[in-house]
Every structure is written in structure tokens, then in C-alpha cells.
């Protein structure tokens, strides 16, 4: 009874160790590292056998010496390969948000606290074929690896389970370890291509004056930090020499303030596929941002006052990315 209970505990420990729960930091302890001969390593084993048989058959004293020297080199290589990976510290880095269809880039940091440099450490998601990312970690330093993972749908994309492996120094052995980094990439909806033009005053039809007033040029005012670049009044700036006390100028539009944009999911035809609607809203957000037009944003319960700028856009896109996916983080 007792013994069976104990094995159960051990199995549990084995499993948790093996499964490598998602962590933002991982220390590659001795028991996390697996090592097996590589393909060339197996070939080397066959060579050792041939060398030994040759030495026995021809009674070559030096042949024995060569055989055992080669065998010992392989054993030392095994130790060094293991050590090249062991006691490495892994840290999850930043992961910028991307649009669906782009590649999410997971940033991983390999921190080497030891006094010896580590060479040729390969990283890729487990299950992929040949690993694609290699890194050298200098002694007492760190290296950053950005792992690109293609995205298909909006929402949170968890980093794949990673496998770190090395064959350094001689390539006769492959040591590897798994890591599930606690990294999630936010994937925004794919911005619809050839989307309809920005909806003008859709949500404020009561106050709407119609027409295209918001694009009316209303003059030039001095540049203020935060003004989008595309609204700089280049013609005016070109006339003024900064040496003569001239300064940057920003074009000022009247209409934008009077007739604000509102992107509302509810205003889109419900017949459209939800993903397409979200996609279209994402395009509009990008469009408005590129033209520096303030816009209000409504997505069911979520609503943001009209504004513009990167933080605003990020909030909107995030809401779009996570819409209807439950556990919004």
C-alpha cells in the first residue's frame, strides 16, 4: 500500500518536471536535461567498435590506446555537451502584439551565470523539425532570442513549448530540455483589406451636420509635442529657417473636432460574419490612426471616448482581439 502510494508521488513529480509548467523563469537544473547520442554519435560508437576489434585482432597496443582515447573523448564530450546546457537560466522577455497573419515574436533571454561561454544553443518550438534559432551566450552574459510563430486567429497566443538543445562541442551527443515559457502574444484581428471608408458620424447622427467638414483646412498652429507627423505643415516649415527663430508648424483642421468618428460594432450589418466585422473595425482604427483622426470606439459593453494616438489604438485593438473570447486579461 505504502509503496504504491510512493510510486504515485514519484510519478507525479516526474510528470510535473517533465511537463515543464509555464514559467516566466526557469533554471535548467541537472535533472531537467536529457542527453542521448546524436546520429553521428551512433556512427562514432560503431567506429569505436571497429577500432577495438581491429586492435584485438592485430594485437595493436597503440590501437587500444587510440580506441580508449577516442572513447574517453566521447565521454568528455557527453559531459561538456550536458554542461553547455546545464545551469542556464531562461527568462521570458517581451512579446509585442501583432495582427493575425503576421508572425508573433516571443522574446526569450538566456542568462549564463557561469564563467564559461556557451556556444551553439538551438531553440525552437518542440515538435518542429530542425531548430532554426541558435544562440551563443557569453560568460556571465546573456543572449536574446526572438522566436517567430505564425499567427492565424485573434486572441491570446501562448508561446509554444520550447525545446532547447545543443550538440556542442563535438556533436556526438544531443542534450536537450523543455520549457514552457509564460509568454502570450496578443493577436489583433486581421485588418480587412479594401474596407469601406471610415464611417462618418455614424453614432452621432443627431448632431451630424453631414458633409466633409472634418477635412477642412483651418490654418496653421505651432507644433506641439504629440502632433502626428503627417499633419506637419511642411510648406510653412520650409519657409522658416529655424536659425531665425522659426519653428515647426502643424496643420489645423476644423472639421475633425466638430464631427468625430465613431466605430461601433453594433452599427455594422449583423449579417456580416463577426470576424469580418471585427476585422473591418481593426482596419478603421488603423486608418484613423494613420490620418490622426480622433475616433470613439464601442464594442458592446466596452466603449472608449474619442481620442487618437498609440495607447488609444492599442486599447481598441486589444478589445477587438479579445472580443467574445471570455477570460479577457
Amino acid at each position: 500500500m505504502e509503496s504504491s502510494g510512493q510510486t504515485g508521488v514519484q510519478e507525479g513529480a516526474w510528470r510535473t518536471r517533465r511537463e515543464a509548467r509555464a514559467t516566466s523563469e526557469l533554471f535548467l537544473g541537472q535533472r531537467r536535461i536529457y542527453i542521448l547520442p546524436s546520429g553521428p554519435g551512433l556512427g562514432f560508437g560503431a567506429l569505436l567498435l571497429v577500432l577495438l576489434i581491429g586492435s584485438i585482432n592485430y594485437n595493436l597496443g597503440l590501437g587500444y590506446a587510440l580506441t580508449f582515447l577516442a572513447l574517453s573523448c566521447a565521454l568528455v564530450d557527453m559531459l561538456l555537451t550536458w554542461r553547455n546546457l546545464a545551469h542556464l537560466r531562461l527568462k521570458a522577455g517581451r512579446t509585442p502584439a501583432v495582427f493575425a497573419g503576421q508572425e508573433a515574436s516571443f522574446e526569450l533571454q538566456l542568462v549564463n551565470a557561469s564563467r564559461r561561454p556557451r556556444y551553439a544553443i538551438w531553440i525552437d518550438s518542440a515538435g518542429a523539425g530542425e531548430p532554426r534559432h541558435a544562440a551563443d551566450v557569453p560568460a556571465g552574459g546573456q543572449a536574446t532570442v526572438r522566436l517567430a510563430v505564425p499567427t492565424e486567429r485573434r486572441g491570446w497566443l501562448a508561446a509554444p513549448r520550447l525545446v532547447l538543445s545543443t550538440r556542442f562541442p563535438l556533436g556526438l551527443f544531443r542534450a536537450w530540455s523543455y520549457w514552457q515559457p509564460d509568454l502570450n502574444a496578443l493577436v489583433y484581428p486581421f485588418p480587412e483589406e479594401d474596407a469601406p471608408p471610415l464611417p462618418r458620424g455614424t453614432g452621432t447622427a443627431a448632431t451630424g451636420t453631414g458633409g466633409g467638414g472634418e477635412d477642412d483646412f483651418a490654418g496653421v498652429r505651432p507644433y506641439q509635442p504629440g502632433d502626428p507627423l503627417r499633419r506637419l505643415a511642411w510648406r510653412q516649415i520650409a519657409r522658416l529657417d529655424p536659425e531665425d527663430g522659426g519653428q515647426l508648424a502643424t496643420k489645423h483642421f476644423e472639421g475633425g473636432a466638430r464631427d468625430e468618428l465613431v466605430f461601433d460594432l453594433a452599427s455594422l450589418p449583423p449579417a456580416l460574419d463577426l470576424e469580418l466585422r471585427l476585422s473591418r473595425m481593426a482596419r478603421w482604427v488603423l486608418e484613423a490612426e494613420s490620418r490622426a483622426l480622433p475616433y470613439a470606439f464601442r464594442l458592446d459593453a466596452t466603449s472608449f471616448e474619442a481620442a487618437s494616438g498609440a495607447p488609444h489604438a492599442a486599447l481598441c485593438l486589444r478589445a477587438l482581439a479579445l472580443y467574445g473570447l471570455g477570460g479577457a486579461r
Binding site: 546520429g39 553521428p40 556512427g43 562514432f44 567506429l47 571497429v50 577500432l51 576489434i53 581491429g54 586492435s55 584485438i56 585482432n57 592485430y58 594485437n59 595493436l60 597496443g61 597503440l62 590501437g63 587500444y64 590506446a65 587510440l66 580506441t67 580508449f68 582515447l69 577516442a70 572513447l71 574517453s72 573523448c73 565521454l75 568528455v76 564530450d77 559531459l79 561538456l80 564563467r115 556556444y119 551553439a120 538551438w122 541558435a134 544562440a135 551563443d136 550538440r167 556542442f168 562541442p169 563535438l170 556533436g171
Partner: protein, 678 residues
Amino acid sequence: MKALPASPFATHLARLQALPRDKADTLLLLASALLVLAPHVAHLPAWVSALCALTLLWRGAITLLGKRMPPSLLLLPLAAAAMFGVAQSYQTLLGRDAGVAMLVLLVTFKMLEMHARRDLFVVVFLCLFLVLTNFFYEQGIGTALLMALSVLALLTAQLSFQFTGAVPPLRRRFLMSAKLLGLAAPLALLLFFLFPRIEGPLWGLPGDAIGARSGMSETMAPGTMANLAQSGEPAFRVRFEGRPPPQEQLYWRGPVLGAYDGRTWTRIDQRLRRRSAQQPPSLSVGGKPVTYDITLEPSSTRWLFALEMPRRLPELDGNSANVSGEFELTASAPVESRLRYRMSSYLDYRLQPAGLPEDADQWLQLPADSNPRALLAGLALRAEPDPRRRVDAVLGRFRRENYVYTLNPPLLGRDAVDDFLYGSRAGFCEHYSGAFVFLMRAAGVPARVVTGYQGGELNPLDGYVTVRQSDAHAWAEVWLPGRGWVRVDPTAAVAPERVRRGLDGAIPPRAPFGIEGLGRFMQLDGTSNPWIAQLRYAAGAVNNGWNQWVLNYTPQRQRGVVERVQSSLLDWRMPVLLASLTSVLLLWRFLLRRRSSDPIDALYSALCSRLARLGLARSADEGPRAYCARISAAATLAPPAQAAAAEFLGRYSDWRYAPRRNDAHLAATLKRLLSQVR
């Protein structure tokens, strides 16, 4: 046109260093392969060596000039032609030498067909095997050093291909692989001595596995021994327990020859003899036996040698020993590798003293119509009734009548004994022993020729006695009533120095000019210069140690080593020695680690412990800043000490979070501040 550079070599070097990585790696692999292939030139046909050199040059040019590799359509016919060439050169594709030639060609052609990383491993592995095949031809100390160098080069090449990003410079890569090799060496040594040895061969060796060897033959004609005596190769080495017996007693018994056809002495056909005569005859011994170990060089014959007279059969591993009716020792299989056996012999013995068996007449037979003068002289001796006197008469004749002992006797005619006794009067041991036995038989005394070795050179440095082919000797045995077979050395009657001091002492120095004089000069005669003698002894001792411990580390020898290790482990001294050695190593490592820790960190912990003694211990979760604030708030320190501690912690914290390594100036400042905290 560009100006010529000042030093073309420097620019070449710079260009080599600026090569792209894959090219540099390939060149390194080429150089390692060259190192492995070079010693094979000594035994390969010239065209194979030339073809390999050209191929490697081609490959080097492809790499340096960035050309494309030749297509396999070109390589295949080339390889086939080379294979045909090997078959033509050796008349076979099997066997050792042809196999090695094929392997050499394979490695060089593989260089031209290297595309993937896998191919690199194939080349390195083949090169390692080529290193082994070189041991078929040469296993000296120099070869071992070359092996270590080749393995180092191959490791470096293999290592260089493993980098994915930054590649350290070549010198550092060499150091890395040297370190790897250094780590592997102790383990390799342990395996070498402890891995269970198997007595080969595992299967029949190809015919050419063992080259021609010089050694004792089973026949003796004028010139046989003299030929052998020109060879300085060792026949066997002996280590005596205690002091070696004097030189004149060192008669190493080999084949006993009893049949004579007028020119050549041969063994009596054992198949024709009666069963009873094949059993070893009676032997009575006296005195204390001499015990010794013999390491016999491979001779491709079955002969085993032992000091006259061995008391028992040697025990051989994977072979068994037999003794014949003439007390010849043989192994049941030819000796193809160094053989070690332990023997004990009695120098004081009587062989068959009770009386000759019924087949005594075979020791009296002479060819009917040859050497008439010697026959008559022998018959005349029969007038003397005491056989012992007949022996003395012949020996006295050799001594009195200006017989000369020489390695280059004149050629003899059909009646060789007559020509020697009455014509040339100059001969080597085979002439004297042959003529003596002929005369004895004519005189009615049973006699036979015993061949073997006489003497040996003691190396005072390691205590081994080396018996060389040049110590080959032939003497005689006569059967005397009441005494049995008695050893008579007629050569000793002519050249007593031969027996007392060996061949070098007996042959007068010849013309100092000419090839032979040069040869003797090159041999560096030990008697002329004690310094050179010492050097020769040292070289001999190293070489013998090499043979004993590396080339001829047999299962028996291994058992001896293991037993010695076991017994010394059971002894109290060895564990104590090991334990103290381990603790010294651990201590050393500990000290090394202490020293290698950062000096500034060390100062910080010194400050912490000093403050702890003053009642302000740092708690584990406190960083230097928080610690500093607490110290300032506590105000238990004297103001100058507190200020120093605060400055210390401030500086340390700045350094810690914006590290600049090896800041000697900071260390000095911190040390000064530390001294103020009290």
C-alpha cells in the same frame, strides 16, 4: 597595378585569417587529414601518395579560389581507376596493405565530395581509422606522439564545424580541444590498463598481416648464424629475479640439430622417432634455480627459449608449451605477437646421466661419402679410450692451430667440414660447432649441435637483459658415460671473448672506413664512451618500458597489474594516500574558488561581517541601499565609521548595479573605507 606588399607571407597569413568561416574550417580539416595521411607515405606505392597529394591540393585550390566541386560523374571513373590501380599494384584488393591503400584513397576522394555536415563526420571518422591502420607498420613512441597530435587536429576540425554563431580564433579552438583531450587522457589511461584484454586474433589474419621476421631457423648451414648475427633486433628480453647469472652461463637453448647431409644440419625428423624417445629424458638438478621472466618477440615460429636447463614448462596464455626429447621448448602455435612467460632453470644439471636410450645411434650418424679427411681424423681419435679426452683433443686443436673467429668466413666447397678444418680455418660458431660434432661422431662419441642464443646485454637502468639476434649461437652437446649430455662450446676454445663478452668483444674491429666501419661507428659502441653508453641504456630502458607496458600489455600482465592494485588497496597506505590526495585536490579547488570570487564582493562581505560584529547584521533580504539607510538610522556607530560605512555601501551599490569589471581603483577605495569602520 598594385604595389607589391612588403612581406608576401604576412599578406598570405592575413588573407587566410580573413577567409570566410566555412572555407577556414575546410582548410583545417584538410590539414588534419594531411597529418593523418603523411606517415602512410612510408609504405604506400608512390603513385598512391602522389595521387593523394594532388587530390588534396586540388581540394585546397577549390576552397581557396571558391570554385565548384567536381561533379560525381568525374569522380566516379577516377575512383574506379584508382581502385584498379590498387588491384594492379598489390595483385589483390584484400589483405592489409591493399586495404590501407584503398582507405587512403577513399578519404582523399571523400574530400572532393563533401557537401553536408554528415560528410564531415565521415571524413573525421575515416581519418581516425587511418590513424589506427598506421599502427600496422609502426608503433614506436614517435608514432604515439603523432597519434596524439592527429587526434588533437581532428578534434579541432570537428569542433570548428560545431559553432553556429561566434567562432573563437584558431588558437582558442586548439586550446579547447587540447583541454578536452587533457580531460579524456586520465580516463583513457585507466581504460587502457583496466579494460579486459583479449588475446587475439579473433579470426585468421590475412597473409600479409605479419611481415618477414628474422629468427632462429631449424637448419644450420655455413652462413646461417653469421647472417642472423648481423641483425641487432631483439629476440627476447629477460628479467631475472635477483642478480643475473654471469655471461658465460647464459646459454639460451633452442632447436637441437642432429641430422647432417654433409653441408646442412637439420633436426631429426620427430615423426620417425620412437615414442619413448619423444618423452623428455631424465634430468637431475642441483643448486638453486634461477627464476626469470622472458618477453619473447614475435618470430612466426614455435620456438621458445629458456636458460639451460629449464625445470618445468612455461605457462602460456592462449597457447600451450611442449618439450621434446632433446629438451627443446616449443609452443603449440607460432608466436605471432610478443609472448611473456615465467621460467625457472637450473644452471647445474645432468641430462640423461643414466645412459643413452636405445636410439643413441642417431647421434652418431654421418653422411657416407663426404668430408673424408675429417672422417679419418675422427676415426684416428678412437685410439684414445676416454671419450672426455677425445673432446679435449679436438678443442685443443682449435685452440692451438691458429683458427680464426670471424663473421665473414670464406666460402666453403662441397666438403664443408674438410674445407674449414684444413683450408680456411676461419669461421663463425656454426663452423666450429658443426665441425666439432662431425669429428666427435667420427670418433664414436654421441654428439649434436644445439642452436640458440648466448649471452645478452644487461641494461643497468631497468634491469632487463636484452638478447638480440646477434647473440645467436651454436654449440655442441656430447654424451659422456656417467655424466650424460655435456655442453661443449668449441667457439669458446677459439674466441673465449665471444662467450664472456658477447659478439662485440670477440670480433676484432674491422677497417674503420667503408660501410661496415660506419655502421659500427653509428652503433655508438658503449665501451668507448660512458656517456653514450648511459644514453643508449636510457633509450633502451624507455623503449623496453614502452614495449612492456604499451605494445605488449597482455592479459597476464594485466592480471599482474590488477592484483598489485588490489593488494595495495587492501594495504592501509594506499587508501590513506588516496584520501590525502583527494583532500589536497578539494582544498586546492576551494582555495581557487575563493580567490576567483570577485575582490569587490569579498570586500563587501568583509564589511557585512564587521558590521555584524558591531551589532548591525545585514538581514538576508536587505540590499546595500536599505542596509545603509538602516545603519544611518540606528546611529550606534561612531560618526566617522558610520560615514565610511555609508560611503562604502553607496559606492558598492553603484558598482553593483552598473558593473564595471576589475575596478582596481574602487577596490582600493573600499579597502580604505573598510579599515575606517570599527
